[in-house]
Each structure stands twice: as structure tokens, then as C-alpha cells.
Assembly symmetry: D2
Homo-oligomer: 378 residues x 4
């Protein structure tokens, strides 16, 4: 195969959330190696985080500007950099790396203000480099299939689009100790509350699937939690260029919802509904016909819906993570075993005894079946 690509990272040091997600995502398909980083604005945390991640200390930078310059100069410099800093810290490093001739993979939203977003847009346009925004929900196979189905006319002319993203983790005033809540509820650093943090995801999903361009909106923003300085609930009515109408609801105070991202699209020929909480199924209906439940990679899968499958049709999302846990636990046990240390508490892997039970089960089944399904000992 061609060599793995070299990835650098800005942000994502100890205590961060989304950086770890980017790293796992980059590993899954074996296309990337994380080799450099400016992992924190705090030099010591940056260095420690690099050690945690097995990054050569020589390629751990205290400053993203130095990193862009240095990596651009190395023959084995990073092919791309992942920017996983808080919203208000996206633009500066993105510009630095694009100008250094390095591809950029940036977390969303693009920026904390319209002005700096425009600067970035200009730089990106002139850089000749790729700029990737991680609107990750567009990566679900059924979301890609939905887009293709709309594009080829399965729904006919789109009439209405309803998208919502409901959470409840900010339903109460966040403690000062909640790093995530902290910057997300600071207007200066977040550049918007629920609308910026999850509303942009919802809009992106709606536009990605329908191919529609919104032209006007009317938004009712609320800050329900006393003392909250950004919106924690947003109701939006949307008008699209095609004449389609729609709604968008984003809330971080809808008690009982975790990450309820849900899309419903209706056209004059059909309608479809998909929800992240059950990502392996999509409801599709043609007018006058019975509802269909399309499954990830299952019957009726389109090319786009089949492009990014890692396991055959029918194996649900999550299957790989469960499998990975066996490997992670095995690693933990092997490390302990080889070090003569006791097994880590809570670590578990199935072993020979489980295998023997399975074998006895098979033998007993065959034995019982041979005896007209009579009782046999296992």
C-alpha cells in the first residue's frame, strides 16, 4: 500500500475531548500516523500530552506558528494538521498551516466571528491546499445514502425539511469545573451557544442530505438557564432557495435527550427519516406504499451508502468498537502479564474456558439432535 499520511494536531492535549475523537477516527482505517503536535497553549501540558501520545519530543511544539514553520521545512513534515482547539482558536492556526502549504482538517464551527471566518475563506481559496471541516455526521453511511436518494429523485421535489439536535447536558448551570461547558457558554470563545455548537451540525446535515441552500431564517433564541450568557435553545424557521420550507431546533436543555440529532425530509413523492440515536436504520416511504426500513448497507443500499462500510451489511455500528475493546483489554492483560504485574482491575477477555464451553455446547447440540432433541449433559 502507499505510505500512511503524517498527521499533526493543534490542541487536543490532556483534558480535551474532541482531540481524542479525532485521533481515534484517524486510526480506524490505518491511513494516518500522528507524528507532531502543538497540543496545548500551556507548554508543559503540551509536552506531557505529546509523551502520552508517543509523539517524538522533537516534534512537540509549544506554539502552532513554530510548528507550521518547522513541519513545512521537514522532508518528513506532516501532510495535514488537525485543528481541535476551542471555536475561537480555529482560524489563526488554520491560516498559519495553509500558508505554510499544509492541508488542514479543522473542527467546526469554522470560527467564532464572521470577520475571521472571511479571512480564513480568503486564505483557503488562495492556498491551493485542502481545507476539511469535520462535520462528522455526514460520514454515516445512511446519511450518505439519504443524500443520494434525494439527489436521484426518490423523494421528488422537496417540500419540507425538519432537523433537530436536542441535548440536555446544559439543562442546569454548569459547574466551573466543567471545561467543556466553560468555553462553550462564553460568548467570546464560543461565538454562539446551542446554535453554534450543535445548530450548525443540524443545518449542515439538512443541507448535505437535501442539497438545498437556505436563503432566509427567523430565529427564536432562548437562554433558559439563569445566568447563561449564550443561547441554550434555538427555534428556527427556514426558507430554502427551491421554495422548500423547514424548521431547525437545537437545544442543550431538553431533558431526556443525549445527542438526539434527527432529520426528516418530505417531498412530493416520498419522505425519509433518520436519527443518530439509531444510525443503522432509515425510514423511507413512497406516497401510497408501505413504509420501508432501510438498514446500513442492507437491501436497497446505494453506492454512496455502501462506499464507507467497514464490515458487511447488517453488522451494526458499534460492532467494531466492541471488538476493539477485546483488543484493548488483551493489550492491558498482556502488558501486565509480561511485566509480572497483576491483571488490571476490571479487565476482561474471553478465554479458553469460554471456548471449551462453546465446543461442549456444539457437541451437546449435535448429540441431543441425534437423540430426537432429548436432554443431554453439556
Amino acid at each position: 500500500m502507499s505510505r500512511r499520511l503524517r498527521l499533526g494536531m493543534v490542541g487536543g492535549g490532556r483534558g480535551a475531548f474532541i482531540g481524542g475523537v479525532h485521533r481515534i477516527a484517524a486510526r480506524i482505517d490505518g491511513q494516518w500516523d500522528l507524528v507532531a503536535g502543538a497540543l496545548s497553549s500551556d507548554p508543559q501540558r503540551a509536552a506531557q500530552s505529546a509523551v502520552d501520545l508517543g509523539i517524538d519530543p522533537a516534534r512537540s511544539y509549544a506554539d502552532f506558528t513554530d510548528m507550521a514553520r518547522a513541519e513545512a521545512a521537514r522532508p518528513d513534515g506532516v501532510d495535514a494538521v488537525a485543528i481541535v482547539t476551542p471555536n475561537h482558536m480555529h482560524v489563526a492556526p488554520a491560516i498559519a498551516f495553509l500558508q505554510a502549504g499544509i492541508h488542514v482538517i479543522c473542527d467546526k464551527p469554522l470560527a467564532a466571528s464572521m470577520d475571521e471566518a472571511r479571512q480564513l475563506e480568503t486564505v483557503a481559496a488562495g492556498s491551493g491546499k485542502l481545507f476539511v471541516l469535520t462535520h462528522n455526521y455526514t460520514g454515516y453511511p445512511l446519511v450518505r445514502q439519504a443524500r443520494e436518494m434525494v439527489a436521484r429523485g426518490d423523494l421528488g421535489t422537496i417540500r419540507s425539511v425538519h432537523v433537530e439536535y436536542a441535548q440536555d447536558w446544559l439543562a442546569e448551570p454548569a459547574g466551573a469545573d466543567n471545561k467543556q461547558a466553560d468555553w462553550r457558554t462564553d460568548p467570546a470563545r464560543a461565538g454562539g451557544g446551542a446554535i453554534g455548537d450543535i445548530g450548525t451540525h443540524a443545518l449542515n446535515l439538512a443541507c448535505y442530505v437535501t442539497g438545498e441552500a437556505p436563503t432566509h431564517l427567523a430565529a427564536e433564541l432562548s437562554s433558559f438557564v439563569p445566568g447563561r450568557r449564550v443561547d441554550d435553545d434555538a427555534q428556527v424557521m427556514l426558507r430554502y432557495a427551491s421554495g422548500a420550507r423547514g424548521t431547525l431546533w437545537a437545544s442543550q436543555v431538553a431533558v431526556g435527550n443525549e445527542n438526539a440529532l434527527r432529520l426528516r425530509v418530505y417531498g412530493d413523492k416520498g419522505g425519509l427519516e433518520w436519527a443518530q440515536e439509531s444510525p443503522n436504520e432509515m425510514r423511507f416511504s413512497r406516497f401510497g406504499e408501505t413504509r420501508r426500513i432501510m438498514t446500513r448497507g442492507g437491501a436497497g443500499a446505494t453506492p454512496a451508502g455502501s462506499r464507507n462500510l467497514r464490515v458487511p451489511a447488517g453488522h451494526p455500528e458499534g460492532y467494531l468498537e466492541a471488538f476493539a475493546t477485546i483488543y484493548a483489554e488483551a493489550a492491558a492483560l498482556i502488558r501486565a502479564h509480561d511485566a509480572g504485574a497483576p491483571a488490571p482491575e476490571g479487565a476482561h477477555v474471553p478465554g479458553i474456558a469460554d471456548g471449551m464451553l462453546g465446543m461442549r455446547f456444539i457437541a451437546a447440540c449435535l448429540n441431543s439432535a441425534a437423540r430426537d432433541a432429548g436432554w443431554v449433559e453439556i
Copy 2:
């Protein structure tokens, strides 16, 4: 961090299914590097597959015996080997590597016959090495939580256990071109049909969660598809040592089911239900109380249910795979871009335009809100 562990693989060459799954699983948490392999019994395919996977040709072996010997002799030899061959080819390599002093991670079932399984059991017991059987379904966070809840008495004394694994991919005679179906329906190589392929998974799940040991069974095996030489449907009644009763149903001809693995456990205090098709939710009921829906890592998560989370509570399984798709597509586009080649057909990543739309959306929302939710242009 401590060094990554070195992984070898037996089987899993071009055209194989489960080998690729093992490789992804090994990559997700960044604990392993695949550095050696005897990837196929066909020497040429073995070599080509090694190239595909970026394995040093010097460590690509045509024979697992040579591999075991050679890797055991290297200072940088593999820490463990993953055996992903068809069922009847598990035991020989497992024994070879254990005897060579190398940890083994083996796909299930353990073997194709009871006799060779016993040999392996003996060797494993004396080897002082770890033997891990990849009963991967025990890796789901909610499955681990279920086990802990039963163990601590949340359900009281277990009365009945109902487990089932229903598929339909073998509902019709499999074509000769179906490599998977081919060996799975050959008694000699599979050592059992539905009972061996998925029934053992179902039993393992039931025993893992309940901690119960089955003592007797009565099994009704059927081969519904004309010409099928192994069972494609199995109904089993089980008796457990504790006095609990249960059923197990495994079918590969239940039309409309993909990988419907489902467990239901009832005790004198409570009951729980979990299904792989919706792995992020588990229904738990205490007698006389309202049903509860426990979510992966959500409220009420136990230590075991929280041990292997890769993202915070509420992010569903599949989130990481969707995210990985963005990275995979970015890699594909970057490779093409840097090679001056056209973008691969179907490749898609969100970009600057999506980001600008998001920014305009936020600005428009704030603008509209400031005007009493009046209409504004986006």
C-alpha cells in the same frame, strides 16, 4: 506511553472477512502495530496481502509454523498473534504459537472438533501464555454493565434467560462463489452450522451476562435449505446449574433479520433486555416500577459500563466510524491532490463553504433574534 504491542496475524489475507475486522479493532485504541503475518495458505496471496497491509516482506510467512519459530527468535518478535482462519484451522496455529511462547488471540469457535479443542486446552494450560478468544459481543459497554448489574443483584435470583441470534443471509442455497457461506456450510470445516457460527456467540453472551453455567440442553436442529449439510436453525432449551431455565434460538434463515442478537434476563427482582441492533440502549425493569431505558455511559452507568467508553456519555456507537470516514475521505483526497490526480469518484468531505454557511447561519440567527425573530437573509 509504553510502546505499542507488536501483532502478528495468521489468516486474513485478500478475500477474507474477519481478518480485516480484527485489524480495525486492533487499530482503534492505538495499542497494536501489525508487523508480521502468515496471511494465507496460498504463498502468493500471503505475500500480496502482506504488501497490501504494509508488512515488511521479511516478516510475511508462507507457513504459520515458520512464523512462530522465526518471530519467537526475533528480539522484536510479535507480542501476540491473531488467528483468523476458518474454524477448522484455529487449533494448529494456536498450539504452534503458544508453544513458541507467544500470546494468542483466536477467533471463535475454538475448534472444529472436540478432540482438537481438548489438545489446545491442554497446551494452553501449560504454556503460561494468554489465550484470548474473540467473543466480541462481550465488548459492548451495556453488555458489561448488564453483567455487573446481575452480579450485584439488581435482578435478584435469575429465573430465566432467553437469548437469540437471528440472521437471514443463508435463507437460500449459497452460491459456490460465496467464500463465507462455502466453508461455513461444510461440516468438516465449520464443525457445526448456525450453532457453531452464531449459537456459540449467543450462549457466550448469556453466560457472560448472567454468570450462569449451563448443565443440560435439549436441541432441535434443522437444515431448512434443501441440500444444506449443516444446521441452519437451532432451537435449544437450557438448564442452568442455579436452577434457572432458558432458551437459545440461532437461525441463519430467519428472513428479515440481519444480525439480531438479543438477550433477555429475568430474575425475581428485575429484568433486563438488550439487543445488538440497538446497542446503546438497555431496558431494565424492577418489579412494580416503571421501565427504565439505560443508555451507553448514561445515567446509572456502572464502573464496568463506563470502563471502555471512547467518547462521552450519549455519543452513540457509530459516531467514531462516521468520524473516521471523514478522515478516510480526507486521506483519499489528499493523496489524489498531492499526486495531481483527480479526486476519487464519490469522495466527499465538508469544506470551507460548509463552514461559511455555518457562520452565516449563526450570524443570521443572532441577527434575527435581535429583531424579535424577524426574517433575515442568510
Copy 3:
């Protein structure tokens, strides 16, 4: 028991829909006898319909004014009248009967215009008689329970209310032969399209459950079907007196939806979700706790949620209708049998053979159990 009440009906003759629903509803609890009617504005159809319904011809009226006068004069006159005419024909008969001193049970919406609605309001206020509007969705046990839970503070202070009623039966231009669609899409007779026909139900449900009073709204009405003269889709943003915010979506062109009436209410302490398509379950969450699924009359049922149960907890809605079908089929067969006529095609009731099979099943189970679950003939 006290005597059954005497019911009259205006509208609901042959070919009508909602009249039949009112009649079944009036029969279920055995509180009413239908004894009089002005069932159609067409005298002949009115008379024929009366015969269909077993109404004494002397009490079948061609005109609701005559009916009101005559029934008021009879010692055994109707206690109440059910008005089930198209929307624009509600007010005149309602006023006539109220002024005649007869209680009124009227279908919704109240009227086809605000002016006549106000007249009715005045008359009703001065009549000293009961005026009942059949917003039937408030009759679901879990809806009544939801209202009580909100009232007693289970959700805390209400923040947002999302209600929707989605159908698709008007997704295409309705044929002239569709009597229902005909008047419902005529502005003069319907007084509004989706907003009047189903939007009012949705609003009523939201207000009934939350006890909130809406003060302002912003509505985006669409007529997506070419040639449609009333709205067939409505997006509404609502502001409530308490400061709560909400949305209402009513559509008759959302392909794939039949009668998808759904309510979601979120407060600072909890949230609840109910959908008519699954009326026996209500999702209730307290912040920070696991989701609960409350069932109709089940654990946690409140007094209001238990007040109108006809069968014990756990028997789903629909159970009674299925049971009624057995009685209806029995009647059909008995009528045929006693008339020496052949059984009506398609009629089916379980009989003695089914009962004998059940008995043999029980005996066989006991027999098998007595033989260690061995096989026995049934």
C-alpha cells in the same frame, strides 16, 4: 344504574366519517342511547340514515331547527345533541340546541369563522347548558397523566413545548370523489386547512397537557399541492404567557405519516414525550436519571391516568376493539345461521376446535413436563 342518557345527532348520515366515530364512542361505556337525529341536509338521506341506525322515524328530522324544537318539547327528549357536520355547519345547530335548553357535544373546530364563533360563545355563556368540544386526544389515559404530572411539578418550570401533527393523505391533489378532502380543502367550509383540521388538535393537546396559555405566534403557512386553496402545511413558533417557548408543526403532506400526533414537553426538572402512534407508552425523564417508559395504567400511573381505564393495566389500547370484532363476527354468523343463510364471506370466529386444541395443548404440556420435557403427541 341510573338510566342511559338520550343522544341526538346532527349530521353523520350515510357517507360521513366522524359521525360514526361519535356513535361508537357513545356506545363503548353504555351511557348513551342514540334516539333522534337530523342526520343529513338531504331529507331522503337523513331518513335512510335514521333507518340504518334504528332511530324511530318519528324522531328523524329533515331540519335541525325542527329537531331542537321538537326534542325540547318531548318529555323523553334528548339530553344532549352531537353536532358532527362540516366545520362551517357547527355554529347554527349548536346555537339552536343550546337555546332550546339541550346540552351540546360539538366536533371541532368550533366554527369556520371568528364572528360566528363569538356568537356561539355568547349564546353558550348565557344558556346554562353544557357545551362539549370533542378534542378527543385529551381522552388518552397517558395524556391525562401527563397533564397531572406537569401540574404537580414533575417537570419543574416548563421551558419548551414541541407539538406536531403530521399526515400525508393530502400529499397529492384530492379527487373530486373524496368527500372528506372536498370540504376540508374549501376555505369557505373548512375555515383553514391543516391548521384548522389538525393544527387546532395539536395546540389543544399542548395547552391541555402543559396548562400553558399561548400569547403570540409566528406562522409560516404553505400550500404545497398545486391548486390547493388552503394551507396543507403549517410551521408555527409560539410564545406562552409563562415565558415558555414552543413550536407547532401541522402537515397533511408529510409522506409516510398517517396520524403522527406527537408532544414533547421540557422543563427545568424533567421532560416527557408522547406520540399517538404508540399511545400506551410515555417517555419521562428526570434530569440526571435514566429515562423511564411509563405505560398506560402501569407503574407510576397517577389518578388522572387511571380514571378512564376500561381494562386493567397492561392491556393495550386496541384490545377492546379486537375483542369487539369477535362479537361483531359472532353477530354476523348468528344472523346468517338463524336466517338459514350461508356464513358471510370472510367472517371468522374461533370455535370448539380451537378450544379442543388448546385443551390438548395444556394436557400435552403437563404430560411432557411429567416426562422431563420429553416429546409427546398433541
Copy 4:
């Protein structure tokens, strides 16, 4: 219309459960009038119950034998009798009425012993009268549709049938005050526990839908609750005449289940799944095609599935009961009003105010729409 049929009832007096269900079921379609009864073996309770139900005291009998004789002698005697006594009291009255020339509608199971069941079978065969057994679950429209779909070959040759009926109301020892549990757990009166009470329903459903005849079974019966004298959990393996295989699980101790009656049928062409807890939907899959969700009376409805609808397609089961509650509450309020008594506590009906709000809502929507969806007061 032809006259209503006259119904008599044996059993079903004060404190009974199923009798009330039969009465509601008989009322729903307006085909029956309850005019006579031997409602209890306790003469006083029989008389009081008759008064409760508005039965002419002259036709309230202390003994079912007298009732059969007297009703048979009356020119206006009952057309049929409903027998709703405990299981061990079905046969004697059934025989008495059949011999008196009166049709019988009997609750299930047929009898408490095989011997008396055979007597009844003989009498019924010679009586020339109809004997109807109320296996009410066969009355669900989708159950009738399922039967028709299997019969016409939509599923191909049936391979396996899985039916289950899970409850939890007997999960703990029943108090002596529980009249229902009392006789149901007495072997003499019940003639079997879970298998007789709900297992027979499950078997009937499986046979009704598939048209299959079971020939052999192997049953594992358990009495999990200490001191229970009948089975409270039954696992059964079944063999059908056609070669199909199946399982049946009936439990009254499966914590978290209320009336979970569920059927799954798989053939070589397709499979279908239906559960009483969601009676308006049925999952149907053809091999290799996307799953379909068929709805009660919706697209794809068969003649049998459309025969017994009381409301148009899409109105869920339960809609009529919710509607009936409005009528029941109206009756309660009217009775109080006309008696000058205070309204019964908890009684609620929507009224003029709700109607006015609806009208203001419609007007406001039209007004807002006319002003480009601007905010307007309601």
C-alpha cells in the same frame, strides 16, 4: 337495520374482570343488547350486579340452569349467552345453553379438564348451535392480515414459528385478596397456570396466522414463585404437521412485561413480526428486500386486514377509546349538572374556551401568514 341481538351473560358480576370486557366488546358495534344474566353464583351479588347493568330483575337469575330454561321459553329470549366464569365453570353452563338451543360465546380456555372438554365437544357438535370461543387476539386487523398473507403465500413455505406471551403480574406470591390470581393459581379451578391462561392464547395466535397444525411438543414447565401450585413459566418446542418447527414461551413472571404477546413467522420467501404492544404495525420482509412496516388498514392492507376497521386507515387502535372517554365524561357532567350536583372530581371535557382558543389560533395563523409570518397576538 335488523334488530339488535339479545345477549345473556353467565358470570361477570361485581368484582369480576373479563365480564366487563365482554360487555364493552358487545357494545362497540351496536349489535347486542345485554338483557339477561346469571351474573354470580352468589344470589345477592347476582341480583345487585343485574341492577348495576340495568338488566330487568325478572331476567336476573341465581342459577344458569334456570336461566337457560327460562330464556329458551321466552319469545324474546336471548339469542346467545356469554360465559365468562372461571375456567372450571365453562363447560356446565355451555352445555346447558346449547341443549336449550341457545348460541354460546365462551371465554377461553374451553375447560379445566380434558374430560369435560370432550363432553362439551360432543354436545356442541350435536346442538346445531354456534359455539364461539373468545380468542380475542385473532380480532386484531393486522393479525387477520397476517393470516391472509401467509395463506396466499407471501412468506412461501413456513419454516419456523416463534410465539411468546410474557407478563410479570405473578412475579411475586399473590395476596389472598387478589381474586384474579386466586383462582388462576389453583390447579383445580385453572386447569393449568401460564400455559392455560396465556399459553393457549399464544398457540391459538400461532395456528390462526400460520394455518399450521402442531403435532408434537416438548415442554419445560416451571413454578418459580415459592409455593406456587401451577406453572408460572413455560418453554415449549413445537413440531408442526408441515415440517415447520417452532417455540412457544409463556411466562407470568418475566419482570418488565405487561401483556407482551408477540408472534414471528419465517418462511422461505419472507418473514413477519407482530407484537400486541404495538398492534398497529407489522414488520414484513421479503428475502433480499428492505423491511416493510405495514400499518393497520394502511398501504398494502388485505381484504381481511380491512374487514373490521372502525375508523379509516391510520387512526390508531385506542383512538376510539380516547374518544369514548369524552362521551363518558360528558355523561358524568350532564348527570351532575341536571341533578344540580357538583361536577365529579377529576371529570374533564374540552369546552367553549378551548374552541375559542382554537379559533383565535387559526385567525392568528392566517394573520401572521399574511404578514410574512410576523409575530401576532393570539
